[in-house]
Amino acid sequence: MCLAIPMKVIEIKNSEAVVELGGVEREANLQLVEDVRVGDYILIHAGFAIQKLDREEAEKTLSYLRQMAEMV
């Protein structure tokens, strides 16, 4: 039940965003997050954005994992 899905922000109106994943659009309430812009990815849970995904951290984790894999 704690499932939350990363979706891309394509439009923002006041405290609501239109988010998209695989061609499916949904509305998401933005009250629980800060500084969201069009193009950001936000985690959607029960109709609310619960976090803005951190691109830099996401890339850091991936490059760390790739490095580790090369060391095998």
């Binding site: 039940m1 704690c2 499932l3 939350a4 990363p6 309430n29 009250q31 629980l32 997050v33 800060e34 990815y41 985690l43 849970h45 029960a46 109709g47 609310f48 619960i50 976090q51 995904l53 951190d54 691109r55 951290e57 996401a58 890339e59 850091k60 984790t61 991936l62 994992l65 790739r66 580790m68 894999a69 095998v72």
Partner: protein, 367 residues
């Protein structure tokens, strides 16, 4: 970057698994890791990871399925609400088929009870606006991930002066349940795979007491295959190298040490902590959320009186012991024979995140 596909690269998963095999080989004892969260349980089964881990690493499923840990008494009360003519029950879909003492919401619905499945508490609020002659009771279950969304909905109800929306809070908190688990003498856990989305809200600090006081390492983990394999690798490293146990964040793209402060503030504005009853784990101090007095106008229990039948438990179902980590579904004589997803006897088979449902669906009985 789509934040999903990148984290399921099969080649890197294989290589990390090889690392886990070589790291754990030297360890003299079996390593027991618990994934606390039901969404992790599902992700682990779906990816087939259990079969790919070395034989001396065992993954244990914990009490992190909100539907499963909701006790019969809550269900019975929800069913009593559903029987009232002036009430519309709004609920997440997973709750519908869970058997209470003598009925379920699904049965009530088929007998004419007004029960509507919603994806968001905001939908329940909309139903309230469209049905001003009815009382809309929203079954507010879920952990720290969900509670802020309900808190925000109550605030919106207040701002819009919506007077017929009521939340029935069955919200529960994860760290106190973990504390209860580590206190069980019949359960041994070497490391915790901590829930990624609960932690997105609460951060990583609330787990520190587990590492510090109970010497159990914790890794806050995402939900894609690479996330989970990396977390198992991090935990194995801590355990095999006998490092001082600590809390680490694997899921950095979403989890900050301090959590989501905005969501936490809102949650604390609307709810206060209280003792709560968990299926299988009993009463745990400070593990539940109740609506604060200032917001009691939105509290179903304060506004919609009902007679609730006496709670009875199904003696044959060992869901409770499974949630406690001391049994697996294979220990249940009803599993797969009498109890199946089509005709579930207990909540652990109903919820898509329940351990019995995962065992049944993926037939992954190996470990």
């Amino acid at each position: 970057m789509k934040y999903v596909d990148e984290y399921s690269d099969a080649e890197i998963v294989q290589k990390l698994l090889a690392k886990i095999h070589s790291t754990s080989q030297s360890h003299p004892k079996r390593i027991v890791l618990m994934e606390v969260c039901g969404t992790h349980t599902m992700a682990i089964f779906r990816s087939g990871l259990r079969r790919l881990l070395p034989s001396n690493i065992r993954l244990l499923s914990g009490p992190g399925c909100p539907v499963c840990v909701t006790p019969n008494h809550y269900l019975d009360k929800a069913i009593a609400y559903a029987r009232k003519d002036d009430v519309i029950i709004t609920t997440f879909g997973d709750m519908l088929r869970v058997p209470g003492s003598s009925s379920s919401l699904e049965k009530e619905k088929s007998c004419g009870g007004d029960v509507v499945v919603v994806y968001s508490p905001l939908e329940a609020l909309k139903i309230a606006q469209e049905n001003t002659g009815k009382k809309i009771v929203f079954l507010a279950i879920g952990f720290e991930t969900t509670a802020p969304t309900v808190a925000a909905t109550i605030k919106i109800a207040q701002e819009k002066n919506i007077q017929n929306f009521f939340a029935f809070s069955g919200h529960k908190l994860v760290p106190p349940a973990m504390q209860a688990l580590v206190g069980y003498k019949d359960l041994h856990i070497d490391g915790f795979i901590c829930p990624g989305h609960v932690s997105t809200i609460i951060g990583s600090k609330p787990y520190e007491f587990i590492s510090e006081q109970y010497n159990i390492p914790c890794v806050v983990t995402g939900f894609e295959p690479l996330d989970i394999v990396q977390a198992i690798f991090m935990l194995t490293q801590q355990i095999v190298n006998s490092e001082a146990p600590k809390v680490q964040i694997q899921y950095r793209r979403s989890v900050k040490e301090e959590g989501n402060l905005r969501a936490l503030d809102l949650m604390r504005e609307i709810f206060e902590v209280e003792e709560s009853n968990w299926r299988g784990l009993g009463n745990i101090p400070e593990s539940g959320l109740k609506i604060k007095e200032g917001f009691s106008a939105y509290d179903a229990e304060a506004n919609v009186p009902v007679q609730v039948e006496e709670t009875r438990e199904n003696e044959a179902c060992i869901c409770g012991a499974i949630l406690r980590g001391v049994n697996t579904p294979l220990d249940c004589p009803l599993f797969g024979r009498i109890c199946t997803p089509e005709s579930p006897v207990g909540p652990c088979m109903v919820s898509s995140e329940g351990t019995c449902a995962a065992y049944f669906k993926y037939g992954d009985y190996g470990k």
